[in-house]
């Protein structure tokens, strides 16, 4: 592995589903000599792209797990993480962004900035990842890269600037004009592997000059040298422009836009040049950890091989040789046989076989130095764990993980399936923090929870394929919550005298709605409840939040204020005050007008214009609220908020309503109160379940 970190790039490829991420990655691997044959996604050759390593991915044409791979380009090491495009798998995208230094944002030249691009962009902002854009599919009918660059500005607020102009569009797309070198690039050979650099076609010279002036104007904001050169009308070198753009990109103040068609093998090599020219090396990025031995103070990590090691496990895979853990090393290095500590549980591990991945093929390495991404065999850990040298106790900052919104009961078909299912669930929960599982003690069913129908569907399918665990699934269930809508007072005395030591505690105060999950306010004065019993009161109230008295859904948004109480010198205890708090909660809860809340999803439908009216109708019929609809060329985008409970089976309904031409994305938005009529149905259903 290259130790000169200036020549290392850790990049991700992010985009909306079906924008051509996997196709682009395949081309990159081909041009960098990592593969010798190009396979298409859902290819006619039946092979599928190399990056889609799971059978399921190849079948559905979507990339579920982030396959990590590396390649070399012009004496640089590029580590690439191919990320999933479907919103249900965004935790994968989030995890990738956590360990990456830069991103290539792929946009479709026909569809432009789509809903998922917006989500990915928000995630990039959260992790402050610099990016460059690639407008793909310029060979498609209706391609309009200039419009897409404008949308980057208008919809995502990027300071986008075109670095290339297309030579022909749609079926006449031949190549691109490089506005820095002011040359035309054509791509020759069976797979476009030979880049032919020629003069700009006569009829495009003026247009190219105008676009170059615009680009230089935008770049000049990031370089005094360039500004001076413009003012003095002296020569502007390519290096000067590239340096200015790079500064802008690293500060996330400019987004250079490149064009091409990965499928038609056009302009992938210039994009690789751009990755090297404009995206940051590990040295350009400020990475921080928290020092667990020093009040969780932030510590800046240095890409120094001699410093103690700090590495983050960002992805787990179960392979034939056991668990494969993908790591990004931020400081120091991991060598074969070195001792590391998992800072989450303090467990000591010995680094065994180290590899770097090329999709499903492995290459053994002796060391993974700082700044690089690699994988390690034979360690037991969870995704998001930090590994450090024994001399330090750092943890990388926690990743943003959302709570699951949907659950499904699964029942194994036989005993063998039961054993395999447990193994699979154990693996999946370690791999994916948004996938959770538990056993419902009342029904004895195993419940899996996740971020959407497709998310759970994929795991059920993986159980069958990878673990031979045949399971039957129940109906998907929504993760309802309970809350209160008005203030209610409580004054509860817990008194028990049944021989032996008695129990006594009285708590009084109020319960009211609030924005936080749970808030406890202590306004006890004059020692009416002794200080040592206050935490017990809080514990008692909090214990009631897990299962609401109304329908046994978790309770949220409650502020409890205690302002009065009483104790007994002998009979009061922590247990007595916990019991008093539980009694007080039940007493006030019924009076505080409890209601049920349900998860509301942000649903974005993209449909051909002719189906816009009927798609809006589908949302209306699902208690949805349409926020707006926009025609963009031949397609319409409808943004709406719809209760998750109404979205089951929506993909089938949408397909049949639009002849399969529309697609939708869905992500969690917020919790909102369930209308009365629906609440009554839920109550009825819950009662029937209890009876059964």
């Amino acid at each position: 592995m290259i130790k000169d970190l200036k020549r290392v790039r850790n990049i991700g490829i992010s985009a909306h589903i079906d924008s051509g991420k996997t196709t682009l990655t395949e081309r990159v691997l081909f041009y960098t000599d990592r593969i010798h044959k190009i396979n298409e996604v859902r290819g006619k050759d039946g092979t599928g792209a190399v990056m889609d390593s799971m059978d399921l991915e190849r079948e559905r044409g979507i990339t579920i797990a982030s396959a990590a791979t590396y390649c070399e380009w012009k004496n640089h090491n590029i580590n690439i993480i191919d990320t999933p495009g479907h919103v249900d798998f965004t935790v994968e995208v989030e995890r990738s962004l956590r360990v990456l230094d830069g991103v290539v944002l792929i946009l479709c030249s026909v569809s432009g900035v789509q809903s998922q691009s917006i989500t990915v962009d928000q995630q990039m902002k959260r992790y402050e990842v610099p990016c460059i854009a690639f407008v793909n599919k310029c060979d498609r009918s209706g391609a309009n890269p200039a419009k897409v660059a404008r949308q980057l500005k208008d919809k995502l607020g990027h300071n986008s600037v075109l670095m290339q102009l297309p030579i022909g569009l749609e079926d006449r797309h031949e190549g691109v004009i490089d506005l820095v070198a002011m040359k035309a690039c054509y791509f020759e050979g069976d797979h476009g592997e030979r880049v032919a650099v020629k003069d700009i076609p006569e009829n495009m010279r003026d247009q190219a000059q105008e676009a170059r002036d615009e680009m230089i104007d935008a770049a000049s904001l990031f370089s005094e040298e360039l500004t001076d050169a413009i003012l003095e009308e002296s020569d502007i070198s390519d290096v000067m422009i590239k340096k200015a753009i790079r500064t802008g990109v690293l500060a996330r103040h400019i987004t250079p836009v490149f064009l091409g068609s990965a499928y038609k093998n056009k302009a992938v090599q210039p994009l690789l040049d751009a990755v090297i020219d404009y995206l940051p090396s590990p040295l350009d990025i400020n990475n921080e950890a928290i020092d667990l031995d020093n009040n969780e103070e932030s510590v800046v990590l240095e890409s120094n091989f001699d410093k103690p090691t700090v590495a983050l496990a960002f992805k787990l895979e179960d392979g034939q040789y056991g668990q494969l853990t993908y790591l990004r090393v931020y400081q120091g290095s991991i060598t074969k046989g070195s001792t590391l500590i998992n800072s989450r549980d303090g467990k000591k591990i010995k680094a065994g076989r180290l590899i770097r991945m090329h999709a499903s093929q492995m290459e053994d390495v002796e060391e993974i130095p700082a700044g690089h991404i690699g994988a390690m065999f034979g360690i037991d850990c969870a995704s998001g764990d930090t590994f450090v040298s024994p001399s330090i106790n750092y943890s990388m900052l926690a990743m943003h993980v959302m709570d699951p919104v949907i659950s499904l009961s699964i029942v194994p078909k036989d005993n063998k399936a039961q054993i395999n299912m447990s193994k699979a669930l154990n693996r999946f929960t370690k791999e994916d923090p948004t996938f959770k599982t538990y056993v419902d003690h009342e029904t004895g069913d195993t419940i899996i929870q996740g971020m959407g129908e497709l998310h759970l569907e994929v795991y059920v399918e993986r159980m069958k394929r990878e673990y031979q665990a045949e399971v039957t699934t129940g109906k998907p269930r929504v993760a309802y919550r309970e809350t209160i809508t008005q203030k209610a007072l409580f004054n509860y005395t817990h008194k028990k005298q049944t021989g032996g030591a008695g129990q006594f505690g009285r708590v009084a105060g109020a319960m009211e709605p609030c924005e936080e999950e749970f808030e406890f306010v202590n306004k006890i004065t004059g020692g009416r409840i002794p200080t040592q019993y206050i935490p017990a009161c809080e514990k008692g109230f909090q214990a009631c939040m897990a299962k609401g008295p109304k329908l046994e859904f978790p309770v949220t948004g409650i502020r409890v204020t205690i302002d009065d109480g009483a104790y007994h010198a002998v009979d009061s205890s922590e247990m007595a005050f916990q019991a008093a708090a539980r009694g007080a909660f039940l007493e006030a809860y019924g009076k505080a007008r409890p209601v049920i809340k349900e998860p509301i999803m942000k649903v974005v439908i993209e449909t051909p214009n002719e189906f816009q009216g009927s798609c809006m109708g589908l949302i209306n019929q699902r208690r949805g609220i349409i926020q707006g609809s926009q025609e963009e060329g031949v397609m319409s985008v409808i943004e709406s908020q719809v209760p998750l409970s109404e979205m089951f089976g929506f993909s089938t309904i949408l397909r049949s309503a639009t002849q399969g031409k529309a697609q939708f994305t869905m992500e969690f938005s917020s919790y909102k109160q369930v209308p009365q009529s629906i609440a009554e149905d839920i109550i009825k259903q819950k009662q029937e379940e209890k009876k059964a």
């Binding site: 009216g613 809006m616 109708g617 609220i625 349409i626 707006g628 609809s629 926009q630």
Partner: protein, 233 residues
């Protein structure tokens, strides 16, 4: 309380009358480009939103984001006209009423009332309250749009939804023989309400062109906010 206050401050209350909007079938706001037709229409829509009614804003010019921005701005102007309002309260009210607004942006070339019909039908199908008002902004009244207007008229009758249009007139065009801009003159029978906006001495004058007894009343509006100039009617 805030809702009531806002409705009282609304320029629509004075110029058209809030009850009047609920009974109108077809209404038009006329002016030459850039005077404030859309902003006036947004105020009309806001009055309906403040009555907890649903509205649909169809634009052939603005993007969905732009439509949303216009409503945000219109609401802010209305709130600011009261004086001090608890910002949290104002925001909560906006969050509530904003749910009843649907902005639809169409390409002018592909604008087709069938899509609107499909959409409105779905309210009946799902037994939901029908939107009370539809704003149509960007329709070119210099063209022959008789067919589109007839279809919209049939929507108005079928779904009992009021429709208000932005109608662009031109500075250098003479008025018709009935004193209306030509865009309205030929279609005056279709419209039962019409307001004409024109700049007068750094203000905007709203002249009621068509509204029974109120016809020919004049009001002055602040050009920046489209709120009534105090004491100046």
């Amino acid at each position: 309380m805030l809702k009531k206050d806002l409705n009282l401050r609304s320029p629509i209350e004075k110029i058209i009358g809030i009850d009047n909007i609920t009974t109108s079938n077809f209404g038009a706001v006329l002016s030459r480009a850039g005077v404030g037709k859309t902003r006036f229409l947004v105020q009309i829509a806001l009055t309906r939103l403040l009555q907890d009614e649903k509205i649909v804003h169809v634009s052939l010019d603005d993007s969905m984001e732009k439509i949303n921005l216009r409503y945000n701005e219109g609401y802010t102007n209305l709130v600011d006209s009261i004086g001090y309002v608890d910002p949290q309260k104002a925001l909560r009210l906006w969050d509530d009423i904003n749910l009843n607004k649907v902005g639809i942006s169409y390409n002018e070339a592909s604008f087709d009332t069938t899509k609107i019909r499909d959409y409105l039908k779905s309210f009946n199908k799902a037994q939901l309250p029908m939107p009370a008002l539809m704003i149509i902004d960007g329709l070119d009244f210099d063209e022959d749009i008789t067919e589109v207007l007839e279809e919209l008229k049939s929507l108005n009758q079928e779904f009992a939804i009021s429709i208000w249009f932005a109608m662009r007139s031109h500075r250098d065009e003479a008025l018709g023989k009935d004193g209306y801009p030509v865009q309205l003159e030929t279609r005056q029978k279709l419209f039962d309400k019409a307001v004409f906006l024109q700049p007068v001495n750094n203000k905007i004058q709203a002249l009621v062109l068509k509204d029974g007894n109120n016809t020919n009343q004049k009001f002055l509006l602040e050009p920046a906010t489209m709120m009534l100039v105090p004491g100046n009617t």
